[in-house]
């Protein structure tokens, strides 16, 4: 697999990349997901929000092939598919960027970007080609990375997240799933990552953004899908929704006032 510059789509109508219908997943007695529906189109950012245990991470793991789903159907670009392993997912063109940074601190940026799919010439690593393409990719993403030949441990949190996201693009995917990409980042670094997400949308990728941060979601997402206790808890277009409405859907309260009461009441 090699990284290529994406060809602009000829058809203006957004392509229906992912279509999940009635996805269920249980772990023993626990129902992590129950009949979840999700649609992702090319060139849009879909945010998945929800409280802890709402099923966000499980849904991500279903799509990335870590935990295959029990029932329901997945269609990718219109064709029914089964995703039973991370390899299946990657082969379809779904890349996942995990919450805990999945970079090797002791390796430099180029090595991390190409890890597991190094370019070779006659058995040897083609460092020159990899470095050159790394720069091309980082430039296209307008990513600010101070050097590609230092160990990634030397980079800031935002730069590391940038490298992690850039790495997902090396395989030329069509859908990228980002798990809490702005968690534990400062203000400026968060802005950097949000800009990067917009670059992904410009590249006509389908972006699934899993986040706790309502402000980030409203800043960058086109559509917000709320999960609540493993079920669909509502779907909004960012243009016509307030953060109160989103929080209401996340907690299951219909308005801010009742949400406050819900929180104030002792849980039994």
């Amino acid at each position: 697999m090699t990284y290529r510059t994406p060809i602009p789509l000829r058809t203006p109508a957004p392509e229906h990349l992912l279509e999940l219908r009635g996805i269920s997943k249980r772990f023993g007695a626990i129902r992590a997901l129950e009949g979840v529906d999700l649609d992702v189109y090319a060139g849009e950012v879909v945010a998945i929000v929800g409280d802890n245990g709402a099923g966000k991470s499980t849904l991500m793991k279903v799509l990335s092939g870590v935990h295959p789903h029990d029932s329901g159907t997945i269609r990718f670009a219109g064709n029914p598919v089964t995703i039973s392993s991370p390899t299946d997912s990657r082969r379809l063109g779904i890349e996942s960027v995990y919450q805990e940074l999945s970079l090797c601190d002791n390796l430099d940026v180029v090595s991390n970007l190409w890890l597991g799919r190094e370019l070779r010439t006659g058995g040897r690593l083609d460092e020159v080609e990899m470095e050159q393409r790394s720069w091309m990719l980082l430039r296209e993403l307008s990513a600010r990375v101070s050097s590609v030949r230092v160990p990634v441990a030397a980079l800031s949190g935002g730069q590391r997240q940038t490298v992690a996201i850039a790495r997902s693009l090396i395989g030329n995917p069509r859908v990228v799933i980002l798990d809490e990409p702005t968690a534990a980042l400062g203000v400026a670094q968060t802005a950097e990552v949000l800009n990067l997400i917009e670059r992904l949308r410009e590249r006509r990728l389908g972006v699934i953004l899993i986040s706790h941060n309502i402000a980030d979601v409203q800043a960058v997402a086109d559509r917000i899908v709320v999960l609540r206790l493993g079920r669909n808890g509502g779907e909004f277009r960012v243009a016509d929704v307030t953060s109160e409405m989103i929080i209401g859907a996340i907690t299951g309260a219909t308005s801010v006032a009742s949400r406050r009461t819900a929180v104030a009441e002792p849980r039994t």
Binding site: N106, L115, R117, V128, E131, S146
Partner: protein
């Protein structure tokens, strides 16, 4: 170089076009931020030499240094394998037993069963590889800590060595066999040693120049050819002087040359192949490596197999040098010297950092201490204590440099 041309990596703050002065300054910055490289080992080697030379003027004599190189080859070969395992963040404490088993297989096969030497040597190395395979499978299948697996291996393989040796206990290998000649008598003729050094350094330099030219053609910052030539010339002069000094006595041992060659081959595999990259990745962050699609289990198994194979080859070398295999082969200090050599040479115990060359530098330090102490005081009690102290010092340096790397943000 055309400075007007915008380089593709012009934004890169780290890679400045390589010039002589800049290169020297970069080296100082690297050492300050805890990226020590081979500097502490070389400094240590110089200090050790000066101390022993002051105590006993025969220490730096070319005869003694020739002995030192010949003693280094066997355990050094074992240490190459240990360095690989340490790179993964694992450990193998059974290497001494495996080398002892290989010595026994060599002696029994050649002397008692009267098999051809190439077959016996192959059998020794294959037995090592099989033991490594067993360790790797146990490590990946059951997730046991490698310390425990190889501790069990240490005992089991020692038992196997005694079993192979049988009642004889000690077997002498005939002096006229080529394996013993190789271990004791074969030295490169002076002209051959110089030729070997010149050819290898020129090849090495040429590879660097062609790489640099490719980088330049690709619009990346490149090292100026003059820098590469200066570096290669310095390396060549250092090696030529060393070879000249050894040639005053018997010269460069073939076994030592083979050992260094093995280290070079492994270093190449580590730095220039996808397998080597995956070894560093697994040592740095197993989970990240797995998610990147690296077949982590294969990396573990291949490294454990290589480690035990190198241990076995080291055992063959040791038997060749001793012209015998006995129940004590690979016992006592083989294990610790091999592990200590890799660590002293600069391979981190924490994984993901180090090189195959660490085995060469480290074993020279260990053997210098051993040889120096033997010249001064034949009592091994002092020798063990001092070797222990040096190992401790090396680990402290490793740990401190790790900490200052973290402080300087260089991993």
């Amino acid at each position: 170089m055309t400075p007007e041309r915008a380089l593709a990596d012009a934004g890169d703050e780290q890679t400045k076009p390589g010039r002589l002065r800049g290169t020297a300054r970069d080296a100082v910055t690297r050492v300050r931020s805890g990226d020590l490289g081979p500097t502490p080992v070389i400094v240590g080697l110089v200090i050790i030499s000066l101390i022993f030379q002051a105590l006993n003027p025969t220490f730096l004599s070319s005869t003694n240094l020739v002995n030192l190189t010949m003693q280094s080859a066997a355990v050094g070969t074992v240490a190459i394998g240990v360095a690989l395992v340490l790179l993964l963040g694992e450990i193998d404490i059974s290497v001494g037993s495996v080398s002892g088993l290989a010595s026994a297989v060599l002696a029994v096969g050649y002397v008692q069963l009267e098999l051809a030497l190439p077959i016996v040597i192959a059998a020794s190395v294959v037995s090592g590889a099989l033991i490594g395979l067993a360790f790797g499978v146990l490590r990946t299948r059951f997730g046991l800590p490698s310390f425990i697996i190889t501790l069990a291996g240490l005992l089991a393989v020692l038992g196997l060595q005694l079993f192979v040796l049988g009642k004889t206990g000690s077997i002498n290998i005939p002096f006229d066999s080529w394996i013993v000649q190789f271990g004791q008598q074969w030295f490169l003729p002076a002209w051959a040693s110089y030729l070997l050094i010149v050819v290898s350094v020129v090849c090495f330099g040429w590879l660097q120049v062609s790489h640099s030219l490719r980088r330049h053609a690709a619009g990346l910052t490149s090292t100026a050819t003059v820098v590469i030539i200066a570096r290669s010339a310095a390396l060549m002069i250092a090696l030529l002087v060393a070879a000249w000094y050894l040639n005053l006595s018997r010269g460069v041992g073939v076994m030592f040359a083979v050992f260094v060659l093995l280290a070079v081959v492994m270093q190449y595999a580590l730095m220039r192949t996808a397998w080597g990259r995956s070894v560093y990745a697994v040592g740095g962050n197993v989970e990240a490596a797995r998610r990147a699609g690296i077949r982590v289990n294969r990396v573990y198994i291949s490294v454990f197999m290589l480690c035990s194979s190198f241990a076995a080859l080291g055992g063959v070398f040791a038997a060749a040098r001793l012209a015998a295999a006995n129940q004590g082969s690979g016992g006592a200090d083989t294990n610790l010297n091999a592990i200590a050599a890799a660590v002293i040479g600069g391979t981190s115990l924490f994984g993901g950092r180090g090189s195959a060359f660490s085995a060469v530098l480290g074993i020279l330090v260990i053997m210098s201490i051993t040889s120096g102490l033997t010249l001064i005081n034949p009592d091994s009690s002092i020798r063990y204590m001092i070797t222990g102290a040096v190992l401790l010092l090396a680990v402290v340096i490793d740990s401190l440099s790790r900490r200052s790397r973290a402080a300087a943000g260089r991993a």
